[in-house]
């Protein structure tokens, strides 16, 4: 009994924690705050410069004209913006159905060894450097045929599939079993259940995955270097070399001309606006959506 009574007083009061331990505690808190500041500093700096250099350089000519020859001021990136839209359109057209399909396979039929193999492969593909995917797209579609928007689109599609596939699977698995069973109970065939009950319920989550994949490939440059190649003229044909916004930024940034540097900043601003607005739209959709808050 005396021991029990003595227990509370045996614990050191807060003031008895040695100054060294208290100092370490405060010091480490300070270090953690410092790391946050150091990490956010480049973010602020990059966005600051993008707005400062980019916004000032955007004008009507930039958005409506094609690049001027070397040394001539003016011109713009209209063809690159259109080219990016074309390439991303091709990429989505190929990547989204395959990605969602593979996700459905994994969620509905993938509880076996082949499913695990697909799952692992998707994770591996996610880590393959984008430039390597560019080489493969070049080997399949460019060698012997010439550079094309299609090759660029295929390269980006390959990069979209793993992300879409894994998020689709995750989202479909979150749909309660009872919902599927209710559909089966009504005599709805399995394929119909999957498409109009399971997939429909998980729509906003699946769209989130698609948009994230889209945002990821929208800024990719490396896989386009030797697939779409770039172009200083208008091109909207799938089998011709095509300009893309990231490619044009890269070329202009490496040039020795101030006017081109200015346009590179403007192009970056347009590109980041495209990406950030799509990411923000996704977050908004996820918050508002009935599903996919995981």
């Amino acid at each position: 009994m005396p021991e029990l009574a003595g227990n509370p007083s045996a614990q050191p009061p807060v003031s008895q924690i040695s100054w060294r331990r208290r100092f370490t505690d405060h010091f480490m808190t300070g270090v953690a705050v410092l790391t946050v500041v150091l990490v956010l500093a480049p973010l602020v700096a990059i966005f600051g410069y993008l707005v400062y250099r980019g916004l000032g350089s955007i004008n009507w000519a930039f958005l409506t004209q094609t690049p001027k020859p070397v040394g001539e001021p003016g011109g713009g990136m209209a063809n690159a913006i259109a080219g990016s839209v074309l390439i991303l359109g091709i990429a989505s057209l190929i990547g989204v159905p395959f990605g969602v399909g593979a996700g459905i396979y994994l969620a509905e039929f993938g509880r076996n060894r082949f499913g695990s193999a697909v799952r692992f492969t998707a994770d591996v593909l996610n880590g393959v450097p984008s430039i390597v995917i560019g080489i493969v797209a070049w080997a399949i579609l460019v060698r012997g045929r010439g550079f094309s928007a299609l090759a660029g689109g295929v390269a980006l599609a390959i990069m979209m599939v793993p992300t879409i596939c894994r998020t689709t699977e995750e989202m479909l698995l979150l749909v309660p079993r009872a919902l599927r069973e209710a559909a089966y109970g009504l005599g709805v065939p399995r394929w119909r259940t999957t498409l109009s009950v399971t997939l429909r319920t998980a729509t906003s989550g699946v769209i989130t995955g698609v948009m994230l994949a889209f945002a990821r490939v929208a800024g990719e440059t490396a896989p386009l270097l030797f697939t779409a190649l770039g172009n200083t003229f208008w091109n909207l044909r799938y089998d011709q070399p095509t300009a893309a916004l990231p490619l044009q930024i890269y070329v202009y940034a490496n040039s020795p001309y101030d006017d081109w540097h200015r346009q590179a900043w403007a192009g970056s601003f347009v590109l980041i606006l495209l990406i950030v607005s799509s990411v923000a739209a996704v977050r908004y959709a996820v918050r508002r959506g009935t599903f996919g808050t995981a």
């Binding site: 790391t35 990490v39 395959f98 396979y105 039929f109 393959v128 030797f226 890269y250 990411v279």
Partner: protein, 334 residues
Amino acid sequence: MPGPQPVEGTKVTAVSGERSSPLLRASTSEVPDRLFKSAMTVCGFAVLGVLVLIVYELISGSGLSWHAFGFKFFAGSDWNPVSEQFGALPFIYGTLVSSFLALIIAIPLAVGVAVFTTEMCPGRLRGPLSFFVELLAAIPSVIYGLWAMFVLVPLLSGYVQPFLAKTMGWTGLFEGPPYGIGMLAAGIILAIMIIPIISSITREVLMVVPQHQREGVLALGATRWEMIRVGVLRNARAGIVGGIILGLGRALGETMAVTMVIGNRPEIAKSLFAPGYTMASVLANEFSEATGDVYLSALVEIGLALFLVTIVVNALAQLLVWSVTRGQPARGHA
């Protein structure tokens, strides 16, 4: 009346049979279901097929160079397209050094941010803070490169490099003219790019550490930092290492930003101020202009080496992260 009974009975069964047959037919007819399943399986197979295709194209494409140089390809430091001599050592060296430099800078920062967001900061700040850190991951590589060329490099050559040369020049790591462009710039921009990956995985791993671990350590009279060190970080070690390796995988394959600031000179220099070259950069710069089959094949072989290294690194990272978060639903604060 024994006669009508069976008649009635057959009538009833006939009716019930008629009524149930469409339903029965719908559930037993497997044709659309099978079609659907095989279509989805084809999609799943396509994922596998793409990987097989990548491996096949890389191996078949690099055959010529492999036969010409063998293992010497990875040991030689002479890269001369004119005399068709290809040694990839400077690129391997540049890739490794820039990536490890990036890790050294990124690890403390990323882990610090993750610890702050999960353990220290007020709940209201958590969402916005992780959003901002993940925003770093949304910036395209080429924009990092642009920013590094016009902001980071002048900053380095004007202030940071003279300072480093003066205070730590004796180590030999910070010698030579402070051009700004070089290994150090590449390492710093890579570090900024991989911080969000390491940080978000560390955060995920820290969040699956059970709450009672923290409460237990606090109840023993630990301060908050001691609780984090003993109760949280120690439990999450394997997962954090997994996140770091995943960041390494990203750094190894990163192309555009590095190409724009590393200087692109195939040399092995001790000083971090000196220009270098990475495997990904040489592909970016030379692939579309390569003439000659051996030259192309040598470049594809570099691609193959890069592919194999990143696969191994990523698989290792996946295993480590799984070993911590396995069976735990991811708890997002987003």
